[in-house]
Symmetry: C5
């Protein structure tokens, strides 16, 4: 699936650099814009579908957060770009959903790209390309579609007593990325459930069928995709901590350091599951080998018991003129005795070999 | 198990940063506080469940060690935080039991997080999240629950002639972490016993059953979890050695260097066992293959001996009108002779092949 | 194949350093030279087979792009080298098709070597050695043969309104390499299709035959070859970004940074496919093991059912004088009953074992 | 074995830091002390069991080498420590036989810990913990027990014309470590013999039995233990080369550089054998698979030949009223002809399959 | 083999440092010395077996290349060492054939050690230890035996018009090492042929026998040995490029940079073959598994067809009093019909399973 997406996303390659071309699969008819404006005493939130509505707040001493859902209306994004004086390459990266996480410093803003992972109601893992631009008194976020992980953050913003209301745009940026990273844990946890489920199935060596290697392979690819989405953010946050930028206050740095701790922890969990999945394949091979062993045992036990007995029966089915045993009065019954004895001896032998 | 814990610990994610939320599984009704106050001539120890009792000693020239058991009474920890002027993020990390080991320098204190591993009477390995704060003349430690590895340390403190009584809070910090690291050796040793036991079982190729791969898999996960608890402390101690901090005396640095030596040694042992466990899986596969070989051998020997003999018996069971052998006087006895000869030839053949 | 090429390319080793020796397999009779000359207002393109035609434009304030197809006419390349004052080692590298990607700074020009990968109409992947020299107002490119990935670029150049027309030779260099890197995506995508096709075959565990490991091995070698062509360019572009060179303008640097992002993304895709191919081999082994299991099951079921039954039939084929069952009126029918019962019991047993 | 030792060595953990506790297994009743005193013109060697005898030479312009065998007489070592003003941690490390190789600079001496590996007459590999202290005009060495690799060195010292007699204590230190490293080669060589022996057994695919994986596993652990003893010394010598220390002369540095070359070479050999041992396991699995193949072939050949023949014999053992073949005069002989023909066809088939 | 050599080479360990002890296997009776003296206008070459003949040219403004074949005549090498004022450790390294490649700067000369790999007429790969000393106006090379890769170089030297005649001793050093590195390509190419041959055998899955894993193992060891000879030179040349040395001219540096490019390319080829060989083992295991599968298939097909038929024949071989089928007129023919039908059904079943 990771591959499918990339494939589509490069149909439009060979465009001149700096050209905006939305390549994602999510289409929204109108760009949905959410505008939050706040300071210590004031808080306002409203939705709009005209980007121009967002610009009125620029220049005030309030912090303005403009959250734009939908990347296919390139016109709107260009309007924003013009208003906030964004570099053409920035605009290109905003709509290029295959752009990997990165951070870039520009003269008047900081540009951060990351992947938002979350599990919707359909229980599937969604990857959304999110761009964040932070300036002196504003934060812009661009998402592919509706639905995000910022509800707790919105609630905190609406709460007049929260620390966030007393802080600047840098703290808002931190809070947004923190919400994304916190949700990584939830995603990893859900993924871990799948891994453990499959593992416990393998432990019990039951319900193993031909689809199991395929399932393991799917988990492998899923974790590789998650890793590729999460890992680069580690480097991004590390660099963010070191950036010396006018509108990032000193005290925010300690929060970013804390964020870095979290992302390191997430990526270690990812690596842990990765190792676990890799060893699932070994487990599976062992389970198959054990099953084969069992099959062979059954065959060997049956064959080893009956082949000699059949041979004996064959002997006395021969038509030789002179076979004294055949003439004996109770020959048939003696024979059964001999056969039973042989049978019991075999059983003892298999017991000893621990095959039974 | 490692995974289970993480899962629970992230139920409460998406809280505002700096919020204290205890996520561990150990619950204590009242916070149990142990206070040790000492200098060269003086030594006092007492327990309390009121945190305020601990504050009387602050500011004296004695060293005060306040050891707090139980992280679920957030109120008490906040009181301590207020009294010692701790940063909100520090308080968050103290109660966040999934926080990985780290060290952080603050203006007036040093904050160290690590994992205490120890084997209780129930023979299980316990992981406890421990935070340590060291200031000019005090050391605070926060543990999840009762039970720790500091009994030897307490005894040394009570001994008036010990070196520790003449040293400051930095040496106490060193002694606490040293006790934790020393106990890692005991834990690794106990773990090594399990690995070696399983290995010697595999060597003898007996008692191997379907549960063996599961056991190996369990050891794999256990060692990965141990590694994740121990490894980051290596980096922490390395940084601790280099910190230039007012209340860490020069001579203590050589002790910390020694501590670093120990933690490196522990982590090398962990890696050694890790490699050993990984190769156990190979061993196991070989043992299974050998068993399969043996089963096949038995089958092949039985089949190879009796199938030709049964064929011969079949021949003389045919009802052809004119089979001269059947008419021979001692045909039956000659046949037995031929069959015996065949049997012996087969045995010789198998001997040569080293199958018998 | 990668190996074959190298083998041939080193027939002529042990030549004195700085000697030009074309070792590629593509031969063109006459060197085909394409000359593009442009500035904001002016644009001219023409083809020639005399290198001297290209020199007339030197020294004007226009940008001149001289694209030379065919490396086996060493004379022509020497003429160009003389005209543009190129170092002997540069000339040697231009015709040495086994030279790996690199960047070298000279006093008056920048020399970049890379591999152009593209899929021709024959659906095969072609590797072409391309050298690029950029000076104050000119760009020279040397290709092994006709056919390249620059058609979009040519179109943009011909378009009077494109940004490229207003920029210098450094931007042209960037555009050329960008076109090459963009095409890497197409190549990787096509390669990915092959990998996924084989993977889905393995998932369905059908059409697996003896040629499958060979196919996987081929993919392994192909991806290793692609990796060797692409990876070094990463380092090249990284160094290009840092080069402090008179004719690379500051604003072009941000484009090169963007290019670096792309090449990193390509190489991550390559690594992803590499891991996927490696795990295909595991998948294949599992599929084979599963097939073996199935074969063994069939054998075991047939043998386990019929061997005991055949034994019973053998018993009543014996010629003992006194076998009471044989004399029973309906003995034959009773026997069939017993045999059917045995048969059904066996089936139930196999059901339980999940073999049926 | 490596594990066993560690286990014992940590019985006494949790002692206060700086406490000397000998944990090795070698016990000597009296500490055996060897004292060598020399300069260009003078040479004296004598043994003693009173450490005080060694101190007379201190302060002269001669070089004194005091070699102490036996670490369990802690009293003696403490006396030495007092006399030469050694740090408590140094004394602790001298008797702590599980201390990994390291180098530490102190104000008035240099402290080096390493492992001496040598093969005694019993053909077993011995690991001995050696500490070396080098000061202005003396070298102290502490060994666990009698027996070392310094005999050649002693001879060179006794030879008045040797370079070593004209050099200071730094050159003696170099010579001692050089002797140890040189002996590593002998050890690795002997270990290599074992590896190659096992490998050639596997090559010939004979004498492979159930103990082989255990043997490979043993070699794995042995090489891991050797590696852990040797590898850290690499870093030690590297740091030694860079140490700027009053009593290490400039010209000695080039000898230490040479020593570093040697230790790098040793560790590369160790890695080479490590890789070889790891691939032995693969070899072994292949040998087992080949054996299984052979067993299966024998079974299949026998079964494939005789099962159809037995079927034919069964046909003519039937009691149908009307079987024309049975009535034919030479039916029996014709049947034999048919069977022989079948047999020959089978043989040809197996030949073609290269099974015979 | 690599191991054998090392083993012998360390018989003489424990010699005092700086002692020359030749440990190679190649013995020459007299040291063969080749002396080349040249400048732009002048060229002279002659052979001698007296080292003193080489010294006459010292001090002239010409470049003198003294190439000494045979390292077992230690006397001669000592004479050279005295004449050119070489360090004792340099002399030791010249004759120590197990010395790994390295570069060392001395006051008046540069000392380079590397391995010359070449394929002699006997088609075997030869490893020769070569030391090179370059001073102001001379180059000394020491080889183990006759035979080298410098014939092209000699020819270029004899050619009055070659660039090399106008350059100093630094360029001669570069040319010698360049010749060695160029020959690495030939060696790798020949090695690659062996790998590809074995690979194509495995692809065709024929001619696989018990010796195959041994062959793969041999290739593994060979490539590891080649790697150990070639890899360190990479670092050597990298350092050579950075050395700031009076007699290495600035313009030579760009040639050394080029040389570095070549050695990187060689080592990448080595790594490529290494990966290929490692995956050959996987290929081989798959081929074996496939063969086992085929064997099992044959057995299963034969057994599955004939076991039921034999059972039926057994049924009608029974001696029951009352078996109606036996009395039927055409019972025998009907039976054949039933058996044929069963046979055909089996074939259809196997077809469906793709076993036929």
């Amino acid at each position: 699936m990771a591959v499918k997406k990339k494939k589509k996303s490069y149909k439009a390659s060979n465009l001149p650099p700096g050209t905006m071309a939305y390549r994602g699969k999510k289409q929204t008819l109108v760009t949905d814009i959410e505008i939050v404006n706040y300071n210590k005493d004031h808080y306002k939130i409203f939705n709009s579908n005209r980007v121009e509505d967002a610009f009125d707040f620029k220049g005030t001493d309030h912090v303005t957060w403009i959250n734009i859902n939908g990347l296919n209306n390139i016109k709107d994004i260009e309007t924003v770009g013009l208003h906030y004086d964004l570099h053409p390459l920035t605009l290109e990266d905003i709509v290029n959903t295959s752009q990997r996480p990165k951070i870039e410093e520009f003269e008047n803003y900081l540009f951060v790209v990351f992947k938002m992972l979350f599990i919707k109601n359909d229980d599937n893992l969604h990857y959304e390309h999110v761009s964040l631009i932070v300036g002196e008194d504003y934060v812009l976020t661009f998402q592919e579609a509706d639905g995000d992980v910022f509800n707790d953050l919105r609630e905190r913003l609406s709460n007049a007593k929260g620390r966030i209301r007393t802080q600047g745009s840098d703290y808002l940026m931190y809070s947004i990325i923190d919400a994304v990273v916190d949700n990584y844990f939830t995603v990893i946890e859900a993924f871990g459930d799948k891994v453990e489920e499959l593992e416990s199935l393998l432990f019990q060596a039951k319900n193993i069928d031909d689809s199991t290697p395929g399932q393991i392979q799917n988990l492998k690819q899923e974790i590789l995709k998650i890793r590729r989405s999460i890992y680069p953010l580690r480097e991004v946050i590390n660099r963010m901590e070191k950036i010396d930028c006018a509108f990032i206050e000193e005290k925010t740095h300690s929060y970013i350091r804390d964020l870095y701790d979290h992302i390191v922890q997430v990526s270690e969990s990812v690596d842990l599951y990765r190792e676990m999945i890799w060893s699932l394949m070994d487990m599976h091979m062992t389970v198959i080998s054990n099953k084969m062993n069992e099959i062979m045992k059954v065959l060997t036990i049956i064959a080893t018991i009956f082949i000699p007995l059949t041979f004996i029966a064959g002997i006395y089915g021969m038509n030789f003129k002179n076979i004294p045993e055949l003439e004996a009065e109770n020959g048939y019954y003696y024979l059964w005795g001999v056969m039973l004895m042989l049978f019991v001896l075999m059983l003892i032998y298999f017991r000893r070999k621990r095959w039974l």
